[in-house]
């Protein structure tokens, strides 16, 4: 009675979903709505709402300027030290917030994962997008600071979108990996804050990477945020900031590697999320 059917959904164990990209496209609205929800909720629940996005990075900037610029007397080459810190802070704050939120995002949305089908990858990525909004707000603070110090950014600024893209790319790669691991091993809830805190000091946020001894520089570039932060500074503060091309290439390669590992591990694990979460 039934004619040969062409079924468009076939569910089998361990089958790579052939329609992954098609599904992602069909659910593209969800990227937007999940980020929109997180932003709405954040500002509805807090008393001074959006101001938090300004106060937090500003406070850290002031502290870092005092510690690294005034107390440690690290070199600034004539640029106000707060500008060096804030240019490094931009990508770092974005990474730290996005990575912390995204790593926990699957667990935070566990009821959704166990009750509805949708491409799971949307959850960590949309929480990275929420932090991207904060990054845009931070750019406004940066602009105000530049104006205050009468500092005119160089032509290098046109390369900034490239480095922003790299920052997003690194963050998503690492977030995919850790968020998937976090579903299975809840220990990562404790590891993530540690990575973020540790990373703040080993990344060139409060200082320029030129203070790192020459022979350690390439090793230092294995941290993908080094390339991103140096790039941001170079774009915003101009060519007086040394930009290590080889180091930057290493950072890019590491970023790509992290992304590939993160993406494939996530895809491998996502089919078991609903069972173990």
């Amino acid at each position: 009675m039934s004619l040969p059917n062409n079924f468009d959904i076939v569910i089998e164990p361990n089958k790579r979903r052939s329609n992954f990209w098609k599904d992602l496209w069909n659910y593209r609205g969800l990227f937007y709505f999940l980020s929109w929800r997180d932003i709405l909720v954040r500002y509805k629940q807090t008393a001074i709402g959006i101001l938090w996005s300004v106060i937090r990075p500003l406070a850290t900037m002031v502290v870092f300027t005092i510690i690294f610029g005034k107390v440690a007397h690290l070199p600034s080459d004539g640029i106000p030290y707060i500008l060096i810190v804030s240019a490094g802070m931009l990508p770092w704050q974005f990474f730290a917030n996005a990575f912390s939120e995204a790593s926990n995002s699957l667990i935070a949305n566990s009821s959704m994962l166990s009750k509805v089908y949708f491409p799971r990858i949307i959850v960590p990525i949309s929480s990275v997008m929420v932090s991207f909004i904060d990054l845009l707000i931070s750019f406004v603070i940066m602009a105000v600071l530049l104006a205050w110090y009468h500092f005119i950014p160089s032509i290098n600024l046109i390369f900034l979108p490239l480095f922003i893209a790299l920052a997003v790319f690194v963050t998503i790669g690492l977030s995919l990996l850790i968020s998937a691991l976090n579903v299975k091993y809840r220990d990562f809830r404790y590891i993530v804050p540690f990575i973020v805190q540790f990373g703040l000091y080993i990344s060139p946020v409060g200082f320029k990477s030129s203070v790192i001894p020459e022979k350690l520089r390439l090793l230092y570039s294995l941290n993908p945020m080094v390339g991103v932060i140096d790039g941001f500074r170079w774009c915003i503060l101009g060519s007086t900031i040394e930009f290590n091309r080889l180091g930057f290439c290493i950072s890019i390669l590491v970023s790509i590697l992290i992304f590939i590992i993160g993406f494939y591990y996530f895809r491998k694990m996502e089919r078991t999320f609903a069972d173990i979460i």
Binding site: N5, V10, P13, F33, L34, V41, K44, M112, K184, Y185
Partner: protein, 414 residues
């Protein structure tokens, strides 16, 4: 008619770990595990047990069919729906489906209490797979169906539970998928709304869409579905016309006599007490397999106490449902001023002086709270059988099919 769902030898295996109740692993265990391998020392591993939630399930459904899935708790109904909705993967076997699928396994998944009704419609719609344009087009229809016009800009945390459920169902009902999968969602909401939902599902199916519907409410299944699948311990017991399958199911549930609750996982509460088993006793105190109408009946409930807390202010309640899942009555020790304090024993009796239930199969819910916090709560805790009896002491039985409750009364000519 075209086949839209083909399920072949579907099996879903879960590994039950007896140590700890968490399904996720701690790194510690993984590290310790690999360390054990290195030193080759056989330390007793936590015992693992395989559990087949679905065992070799096969069936085919045609376009436009309305199919009810029935079975006891733990029979695999929800697992089947989860596999079909692509939430979890099968361990073996294959499912082939045609068309857009929407599943409603829980009412209001993804609803955020802080967001307004309007915002939640968009959020929930997109989680269920609707595009923004689609939601905008159906927005007015959804609002009208949910009857929440005045509260659109109120956060849903201020909604009554009825409004909340109506809104959630309304969004899902307007998905217009080719295949609609619905789990026990009508258990919530009032009778009026249940009727509306069933009506909506009927509309959905009359336009050529296929519906899979899980419910404990046999009346709803009978009303809505033309076909039913009876699952038992993960296997398909019967597939066929819904009336026939329901009859088979009801007959088989009556055979379960020993109501053991110790292994039930589908319970909620803080565990101050945990219901362990239920015993039926007759008027002379003997354990019986069924109760008799018109006689004294004792339902003895055994429970386990959390030894670390003093059990005070313990409320217990038993809800009785008929075989169509409709609540007949609820009995509790609060309304009778018999709240349990300083509990030292491990069982209590519910004594019904004269059992006013007609012959049939009844299921019950056990519920308890301590200091207003839920201690233990088991839905569909079990079933019991009531035999006909001489309720009116006249040797006559009341007519069949005229309700299930008997009342003591008399007629007097004035």
């Amino acid at each position: 008619m075209a086949v839209v769902i083909r399920v072949e030898n579907l099996t879903k295996k879960y590994i039950l770990r007896h140590e700890g109740s968490n399904s996720y692993e701690a790194l510690r265990e993984v590290i310790a595990g690999s360390f054990q391998k290195v030193v080759k020392k056989e330390i007793q591993r936590p015992s693992k047990e395989e559990f087949l939630a679905l065992n070799n399930v096969s069936f085919e459904l045609n376009q436009g069919e309305r199919v009810g899935i029935i079975g006891r708790n733990g029979a695999g109904k929800s697992t089947l729906l989860k596999v079909l909705s692509r939430i979890t993967e099968p361990s073996s076997g294959r499912v082939s489906m045609k068309g857009r699928i929407a599943s409603l396994l829980e009412v209001g998944t993804g609803f955020h209490p802080e967001l307004t009704g309007r915002e939640n419609i968009f959020l929930n719609g997109s989680i269920l797979g609707m595009a923004k344009r689609e939601i905008q087009l159906k927005f007015d229809e959804i609002v009208a169906f949910a009857e929440v016009e005045q509260f659109l800009d109120t956060p849903v945390k201020r909604y009554s539970s009825g409004m909340y459920v109506r809104l959630a169902f309304a969004v899902a009902a307007h998905l217009e998928p080719e295949i609609l999968i619905v789990d026990e969602v009508l258990a919530v909401g009032d009778a009026e709304f249940q009727k509306k939902c069933l009506g909506k599902m009927q509309d959905v199916s009359s336009s050529g869409r296929t519906i899979l519907f899980v419910s404990h409410n046999m009346a709803a299944i009978q009303n809505l579905c033309d076909k039913a699948i009876y699952l038992k311990k993960g296997e398909v017991q019967t597939i066929g016309k819904s009336e026939e399958v329901i009859a088979t199911y009801l007959k088989s549930t009556a055979e379960v006599q020993n109501i053991n609750l110790a292994d039930r996982k589908d319970r909620s509460g803080n565990g101050a007490i945990r219901f362990q088993s239920v015993e039926l006793l007759d008027d002379s105190g003997h354990t019986v397999q069924s109760l008799q109408c018109g006689k004294k009946a004792v339902i003895r409930i055994h429970f386990e106490r959390n030894q670390n807390v003093v059990i005070n202010n313990l409320h217990v309640a038993i809800g009785i449902d008929n075989d169509f899942g409709q609540r007949i009555t609820q009995m509790n020790n609060e309304v009778t001023n018999q709240i349990f304090n300083n509990v030292q024993s491990n069982s209590f009796d519910l004594v019904i002086d004269v059992l006013p239930l007609k012959n049939g199969i009844y299921s019950f819910v056990l519920y308890s709270t301590m200091n207003n916090e839920i201690a233990d709560w088991i839905q569909n805790a079990g079933t019991f059988h009531v035999e006909s009896g001489d309720f009116y002491h006249t040797g006559k039985l009341p007519p069949e099919g005229q309700g299930s409750v008997l009342i003591r009364y008399s007629f007097n000519l004035k």
